[in-house]
């Protein structure tokens, strides 16, 4: 595996996560430019079913780990076990990736560049760009030597198909669970499965201008019509209108969707930090002077209570046409 690239691909029911396919796409491109190969690593029930999909996105080989991915620590040990002398271990900066990356770095004693928005080859060295200060600045980092571990921000690069062999290789006898005494007692499912805020292609966020938690129905409706996730400003979460898990901003989630719609959010600097790398930003606000309009591609000045339902209606009509 010397000099090659490994990409950990999250899968569920045999279907790879989109954010992981983005990482695999990037890994395959980086490998091709180095005249090397990128391999996918999958684990868990029906992992082998994800192999064909991994091959379509450029995996030369698909390593199927005999490890339960729910045990993140054991998974990290297993990934580290097949990562000897590789140039790069790449993963998606998802809920799983955030927990997994540092554990792989610890196991391999190799540096981790987390939440990268770009990775490139500079000669033989891999160079990563990652937002710091919640996106108020961009750092360019590279490993002093040896293997780099990197996690890629969802939606930072597109997932593109590029057929490779994708020969499946089962890796058994993986490291035993080394949870070191952290025992996973239970996993409670969400009331209804939602699209992860940080991975969603569309995010619709509401702010204090919505006047109360009872008015977030229209935000949920617009998000549903767009197939997106719901976010909120810090003021809204601190007031208890929405859970902290939905907070977008420097002390919440940093999101980078294809489309971000800010409704009744003025655009405090700490909110802007959490969403300014979105591809397209729409702002709907009654205050024409609100700072959110400075980062918005498209703005509508006016009453969100009138505009949002009309927008939902228009989007639904468009989607119905196909």
């Amino acid at each position: 595996m010397a000099g090659e690239i490994l990409v950990y691909v999250e899968q569920k029911g045999g279907a790879a996560k989109r954010a992981s396919l983005e990482a695999l796409t990037l890994g395959a491109k980086l490998a091709a430019a180095r005249s090397s190969a990128a391999h996918a690593i999958v684990a868990g029930d029906s992992a082998a079913d994800a192999a064909a999909e991994c091959a379509r996105y450029g995996a030369a080989k698909v390593l199927v780990l005999d490890t339960d991915p729910k045990d993140t620590h054991a998974l990290a040990a297993a990934v580290a076990g097949v990562a000897n002398d590789v140039a790069l271990v790449l993963l998606a900066h998802t809920a799983k990736g955030k927990d997994l990356g540092p554990r792989i770095a610890g196991a391999l004693n190799a540096p981790l560049a987390s939440d990268c928005t770009a990775i490139s080859n500079e000669g033989d060295t891999l160079v990563a760009r990652r937002p710091v200060f919640a996106g108020k600045a961009i750092a360019t980092v590279k490993p002093a030597s040896g293997t780099l571990i990197a996690s890629l921000r969802p939606n930072a690069v597109p997932a593109e198909e590029s057929a490779a062999d994708g020969a499946v290789e089962n890796v058994s006898g993986a490291a035993p669970s080394t949870g070191l005494g952290a025992v996973l007692a239970e996993i409670l499912a969400a009331a209804d499965e939602k699209i992860a805020l940080t991975e969603a292609a569309v995010v619709v966020s509401g702010g204090r201008g919505l006047k109360g938690p009872e008015n977030f129905g229209m935000i949920e409706d617009l998000a549903a019509a767009l197939g997106g996730a719901v976010g909120a400003s810090r003021a809204v979460c601190d007031a208890g209108w929405r859970p902290h898990t939905e907070q977008v901003g420097q002390t919440g989630k940093v999101v980078s969707p294809n489309l971000y719609i800010a409704v009744a959010i003025s655009g405090a600097i700490q909110h802007l930090a959490g969403m300014r790398t979105s591809n397209f930003i729409v702002a709907i606000n009654s205050d024409a002077e609100a700072p959110i309009f400075k980062v918005a591609d498209y703005g509508i000045v006016g009453d969100a209570f009138e505009i949002v339902p009309k927008l939902t209606e228009a989007v639904a009509a468009l989607k119905a046409q196909g």
């Binding site: 620590h73 799983k96 955030k98 927990d99 540092p102 554990r103 610890g106 196991a107 004693n109 540096p111 160079v127 937002p131 710091v132 200060f133 996106g135 108020k136 600045a137 961009i138 750092a139 360019t140 980092v141 590279k142 490993p143 002093a144 070191l180 005494g181 952290a182 025992v183 996973l184 007692a185 239970e186 996993i187 409670l188 499912a189 969400a190 499965e193 939602k194 902290h244 898990t245 002390t251 919440g252 940093v254 294809n258 405090a268 600097i269 700490q270 300014r276 591809n279 397209f280 930003i281 309009f293 498209y298 703005g299 509508i300 000045v301 009453d303 009138e306 505009i307 009309k310 228009a314």
Partner: protein, 252 residues
């Protein structure tokens, strides 16, 4: 129970970042410095555990410039017992590996039953020091906890898992836990606390960091966003917005 809480001095969330002359650090002029917000949850959790147990000791540990005594005093004023400052003028540019190594060395002689960190410092946003610290110390680690309870010498913690799930772990102590929002509401220091903090000890130690494993080549401001426009006012603007999203942005 001995609890060690690792904190970091960082620019406040409303700071405007300017790049320093060296091209790899920020211009510190006009920056207001605070305790990284996630670290405050860790401090509060430690204080609550000490209060619930009716005893024990809370030690605040930081790797930072000499000025970090301000943030350490704040923690002492909140109710922590003592503090250790690992003095490093370049602490903010240390990579996670070097930072974790220095913190682990200091924790080695603090006899900790529990080490708490914020899930990430809001300057470099790396989100890995807690986990690397645990790896160096050979301790279990659960990240981004939002609930914490100690029973029978074990920590029972909850964190958000994938796809909106909630994960519960039983963790043998000693352990390293990283804290996120929702865990508690950090207290403000009382006047009495501020007075008492003046007499509490801060152990200042000079440290020298090893070379980082991840090198910072440059730091720059993000490219400016392309100019946007106001599409219109009120509901009349909706059809035009939808058209732009579909035809120009191609996101519908």
């Amino acid at each position: 129970m001995n609890i060690v809480v690792c904190i970091k001095r960082v620019p406040a969330t409303d700071s405007r970042i300017k790049i320093g002359a060296d091209g790899t650090s920020i211009d510190p002029a006009q920056i207001e410095w605070i305790i990284s917000p996630y670290d405050e949850f860790a401090v509060e959790a430690a204080l609550q555990m000490k209060e619930a147990a009716g005893g024990g000791e809370v030690t605040i540990l930081t790797l930072g410039p000499a000025e970090s005594t301000k943030e350490l005093r704040t923690c002492l004023a909140m109710g922590a017992d003592k503090a250790v400052l690992l003095k490093d003028a370049d602490a903010s540019s240390r990579d996670a590996t070097a930072t974790a190594a220095l913190l682990a060395e200091a924790i080695g002689d603090l006899n900790a039953d529990l080490v708490l960190c914020g899930k990430q410092a809001i300057d470099r946003d790396q989100g890995q020091v807690g986990t690397l610290l645990a790896a160096k110390l050979g301790l279990p680690c659960v990240t981004e906890i939002r609930k914490l309870e100690i029973t029978d010498g074990k920590a029972n913690v909850e964190r958000a898992g994938e796809d909106g799930t909630s994960e519960t772990y039983n963790v043998a102590l000693p352990a390293v836990l990283t804290c996120t929002k929702g865990l508690n509401e950090p207290r403000y220091a009382s006047l009495k606390g501020i007075m008492m903090a003046k007499k509490k000890p801060i152990d200042e130690r000079d440290v020298s960091a090893a070379d980082g494993a991840l090198q910072l080549a440059s730091l720059e401001l993000p490219p400016p966003r392309r100019d946007g426009r106001i599409v219109g006012e009120g509901v009349e603007a909706v059809p035009e917005l939808v058209r732009l999203l579909r035809e120009e942005a191609k996101v519908l």
